[in-house]
């Protein structure tokens, strides 16, 4: 069975919260005339690219539940969110898909038409290995591990556009940079934004910093460049992260993700030239005891949705200044295992949010869940993640040629963005 992927009625779901209606309108007009109370600067020439990488296999069928699929509950009799209307049931999105109740905060941007889910999507990696799948998705060379491409796709994006004048071009908000940003110019991992300054006693700070600078000047990458980029970026444009007050009463969760998104919002508003952010969101490898309704998965989905909602509210006046997307290297197996969890799978659900996104709908060329429809027992992939990212690059970031970013991939325009 094929599920029609367009939902012409999404406009009726707008304005679930009045504040959003107001701020979204403000954002829409900000391109032409900055509202007095909102953005104090003109919109960015290119929106900031913000990747939330859900690591270790996020189960897309628990987040966006295909409740109307005739075989879904046969495959997952005990570990699934019930259909809308049932106790603890999914929140209906379009008559076929429903949202996990713990992720209800996604409805805020969704109902405003700013958030789009793309289901049965992902990367065609056959191995079901996390590490292979990361490499294929982030390096985006389908011939891995024998391929010749070693840079990340975000690195190639940064190399393809005219750089801005910022001290930093990309930031990974975790201790390790993701493969997506391997080898990227002016790029640093910043796991803790609040103490990004030269340490040690003030009395000798300038002299010590000068000595350090001299020692790292002309030193080979990645160490030399990292040190000099760090020194150049000290202070992060003077943003006071502790004192930062999110707009529209947005409240970020106190989780790692919440703190990091809050800092990213502050940095985008400060306009210090950072073009790309990555945030790794860990913990989705739930082989056992997945807990879709009240356990670990539920907690993770709630944190994800509440963090994204807070960012959406906080950034309402800057809607056109970012494009946020969340993806994972693969989904999970369609059948439950005996450990009350799901093993590694294939297709999953990704999402994107920001200006230009044709949101408020779930897009899917739904492959179905009967035995013949599945890919080794997993949700098949009908939308290549590179089509989604490609559309962002073409329509929002001004790239005309995708070949250097996604080699060997024939791009199809699905109309995810306008």
């Amino acid at each position: 069975m094929k599920h029609s992927d367009t939902n012409g009625d999404s406009s009726s779901k707008l304005t679930r919260r009045s504040v959003l209606g107001a701020t979204a309108t403000a954002a829409a007009t900000s391109l032409f005339s900055a509202p007095a109370s909102a953005s104090a600067r003109p919109p960015l020439a290119r929106p900031v690219l913000l990747q939330l990488f859900l690591r270790q296999g996020m189960d897309g069928c628990s987040l966006v539940v295909p409740y109307a699929d005739p075989n879904f509950y046969n495959l997952r009799p005990t570990l699934s969110i019930p259909p809308p209307g049932a106790s603890g049931g999914a929140l209906d999105l379009d008559g076929f898909f429903g949202l996990a109740p713990s992720a209800s905060a996604f409805l805020t941007p969704f109902n405003d038409g700013r958030l789009l889910f793309v289901h049965a999507s992902g990367s065609h990696d056959p191995t079901r290995s996390h590490f292979e799948a990361f490499a294929r998705m982030e390096v985006a060379d389908p011939s891995l591990p024998l391929g010749v491409v070693t840079t990340g796709w975000m690195t190639r994006y940064l190399n393809a556009v005219v750089p801005g004048s910022g001290a930093l071009r990309a930031v990974g908000a975790n201790p390790l940079l993701p493969l997506s940003l391997r080898g990227a110019p002016k790029t640093l991992p910043i796991p803790d934004f609040t103490s990004f300054s030269f340490p040690g006693r003030l009395l000798t700070s300038a002299e010590r910093q000068a000595t350090i600078t001299a020692a790292y000047t002309h030193y080979p990458a990645p160490l030399g460049t990292a040190a000099l980029d760090t020194i150049a970026a000290f202070g992060l444009g003077g943003v006071d992260f502790d004192a930062y007050v999110p707009a529209n009463g947005a409240v970020y969760p106190s989780s790692d993700l919440g703190r990091r998104l809050r800092a990213v919002a502050a940095l985008i508003k400060a306009d210090i030239g950072i073009e790309v952010f990555n945030i790794d969101v860990d913990g989705w490898d739930l082989h056992a005891n997945i807990g879709v309704a009240s356990g670990e998965m539920s907690r993770l989905m709630s944190d994800l949705a509440r963090s994204v909602e807070a960012f959406y509210l906080d950034m309402a006046a800057y809607l056109d200044d970012y494009i946020l997307f969340g993806l994972t290297e693969f989904g999970r197996h369609m059948r439950e295992n005996f450990s009350a969890g799901f093993d590694h799978g294939h297709g999953s659900c990704l999402f994107l949010m920001g200006g230009g996104v044709n949101g408020g709908q779930v897009r899917a060329d739904w492959p179905g869940l009967f035995l013949d429809d599945l890919d080794q027992g997993d949700l098949a992939i009908t939308t290549d993640y590179r089509d989604v990212l490609g559309e962002i690059l073409k329509k929002r970031l001004g790239l005309t040629d995708l070949a250097p970013i996604f080699p060997f991939h024939t791009y199809t325009d699905h109309g995810f963005l306008s």
Partner: protein, 546 residues
């Protein structure tokens, strides 16, 4: 069609309460206290002069060459000390030099010959030491944070203060290769025993030995979910990582079907769920949950095997061990492990000829790790002209242990150090993915600022406010770096810091820069100034390598 979502909680099967999320977040590292002090006129003038000098001079010369630890390359004993310890320490180096290269290596390859009673005595302060899973769970059920901190503190204490340094370097290697995250679920209660029976017992034993100990340890059974692997519904998490990460490697020549067959062979291995038993939460075999029938791995039938660690033979009980035997004997495993050990000790790019030689040793000796290490650490491999010896980038953990060892720190507890390791991204026993922490400059190089912050906090006068580590008194430190405050002689201080405190890791240009800083320092070259220099030296690029 069952629509009701009845959430099973598998922990009930172990007599445990439902799990709720990770609860092991440590507070962020303390901000470096940088008290604004009054700048006197002389110092302001000096600052201007100093900055002017540097901005004119820096970068004017040729590009700094890749790290060239000449001082180290000329001295194989020094190179060996750098590679097989958790950080250069002058006294350790002088002891090694007195013994000679081969004797020092043999001593370290025979850790049982080294009296480590002082360390063992100090480890007894940790109540969690030696506890069974049941005891650990009962003792720390309501204070898992304390359990986790004690576990990590023990790892740190051993790394910094054990005399059996090579063994501890290998223990670190195994903690990555056979990674277990203490905080995915109840691993914190299983690791006190698993650390002893796997890492400590087999660090320098044989690969088949540590592989088997790991497979049947409660920690691994839980972490990779094999305890839930049962007949009719195989749980393949462990089987997959066993093939991909522990033995053959992703290119080792196996198929998805092999993952599923391995998983079947391991069905029935689980954790004891009887709370009344002294073996509660220990590994056990339940024959009723073992998948019967023939199984095939890499194209051959898995033999029934012999029972593992059990006097009574239960049907199917030998299959898991038979799988481990097959995998351990496979050439792909020998190559994978040999290459990884060469990367760990010698060079990020080991030549295939040497990989082959180490792999042959593996095959000839049944995976004897000491025999492999004798090939890897042979004197010619660490000598001046060796083509297989290349600089290695310190991982954050090694950076921290090296600084603590350089100044002969004694670990009292790991609290503050763990806070810094959190910011540095490498807390022991806390790597979530089963790969363990990476070991390349590409991964760790970009995160430089937390290193500078750690140096600046640790290296304040008399080790300032750093908590949890006891350091020698000032005269010993002055003797270490050859600085005599009484005479006020600054000459050669940078050279001595580079050589005696940091084992020759600083490049000549870095020593020069440091000496310029010392020479230009206005007024007394006091304790604060000396510590500034130590902070600077350890923040230099050279010290990031070994």
């Amino acid at each position: 069609m069952a629509l009701q979502s009845s959430i099973q909680d598998v922990h009930a099967r172990l007599g445990l309460p439902p799990q709720s999320g990770r609860s092991f977040e440590l507070p962020p590292p303390p901000r470096t206290s940088a008290q604004p002090s009054a700048l006197d006129a002389a110092r302001r003038a000096y600052r201007r002069h100093f900055l002017a000098t540097l901005s004119g001079g820096a970068g004017a010369g040729a590009a700094t060459p890749l790290p060239t630890p000449d001082r180290i390359r000329r001295d194989p004993v020094l190179a060996l000390v750098h590679r097989i310890t958790n950080g250069f320490n002058l006294a350790e180096y002088e002891r090694a030099r007195a013994l000679g290269y081969e004797a020092y290596l043999e001593e370290q390859l025979a850790p049982e010959s080294l009296d480590d009673s002082e360390l063992e005595e100090r480890l007894t302060r940790y109540a969690i030491l030696g506890l069974s899973p049941k005891q650990a769970h009962q003792t720390f059920e309501n204070d898992t944070l304390a359990a986790a901190l004690q576990l990590k503190s023990m790892v740190l204490t051993r790394a910094v203060n054990s005399r059996r340094q090579l063994k501890e370097r290998m223990a670190e290697f195994w903690r990555d290769h056979l990674n277990i995250d203490h905080a995915k679920g109840i691993e914190w209660a299983l690791l006190p025993e698993t650390e002893l029976t796997v890492t400590q017992a087999h660090a320098l034993g044989t690969f088949p030995g540590i592989l088997s100990a790991s497979a049947f340890s409660a920690g691994m059974q839980y972490y990779l979910d094999n305890w839930l692997n049962v007949r009719g519904a195989a749980q393949e998490n462990y089987g997959r990582e066993l093939l991909e990460l522990h033995t053959l490697s992703i290119t080792g020549g196996y198929y998805e079907s092999d993952v599923k067959e391995v998983a079947k062979c391991f069905t029935g291995w689980t954790l004891n769920g009887r709370q009344s038993s002294p073996d509660w939460l220990r590994t056990t075999f339940d024959p009723s949950q073992h998948t019967p029938g023939p199984k095939f791995l890499l194209g051959q039938r898995v033999p029934e095997g012999k029972p593992h660690a059990s006097a009574t033979f239960l049907p199917g009980q030998g299959e898991a061990q038979a799988v481990l035997d097959l995998l351990a004997a496979h050439p792909s495993t020998a190559l994978f492990l040999s290459r990884k050990l060469l990367k760990w000790f010698l060079t990020p790019t080991p030549p295939e000829s040497l990989v082959q030689r180490v792999a042959e040793t593996y095959q000839d000796t049944g995976g004897d790790l000491r025999a492999m290490l004798r090939v890897i650490l042979a004197r010619e491999n660490l000598s001046f002209a060796s083509p297989v010896y290349a600089p290695k980038f310190r991982r954050p953990y090694h950076f921290v242990t090296t600084l603590l060892r350089a100044f002969s720190g004694r670990i009292e507890n790991g609290f503050e150090t763990m806070s810094f390791l959190t910011g540095l991204g490498q807390v022991p026993l806390q790597c979530a993915p089963p790969t363990g922490y990476p070991d390349t400059v590409e991964n760790w190089g970009p995160l430089i600022l937390p290193r500078w912050s750690f140096s600046a906090t640790l290296l304040q006068p008399l080790f300032g406010n750093y908590r949890g580590v006891r350091f020698p008194l000032m005269p010993e430190l002055e003797e270490l770096v050859g600085y005599d405050r009484g005479l006020g002689n600054r000459r050669g201080v940078a050279q001595r810091i580079g050589e005696r405190a940091f084992g020759g890791t600083l490049a000549p240009r870095e020593v020069e820069l440091l000496q310029e800083y010392i020479d230009g320092y206005p007024g007394d070259f006091d304790t604060s100034a000396l510590f500034d220099c130590l902070c600077l030296a350890s923040s230099m690029p050279g010290f990031q390598w070994y």
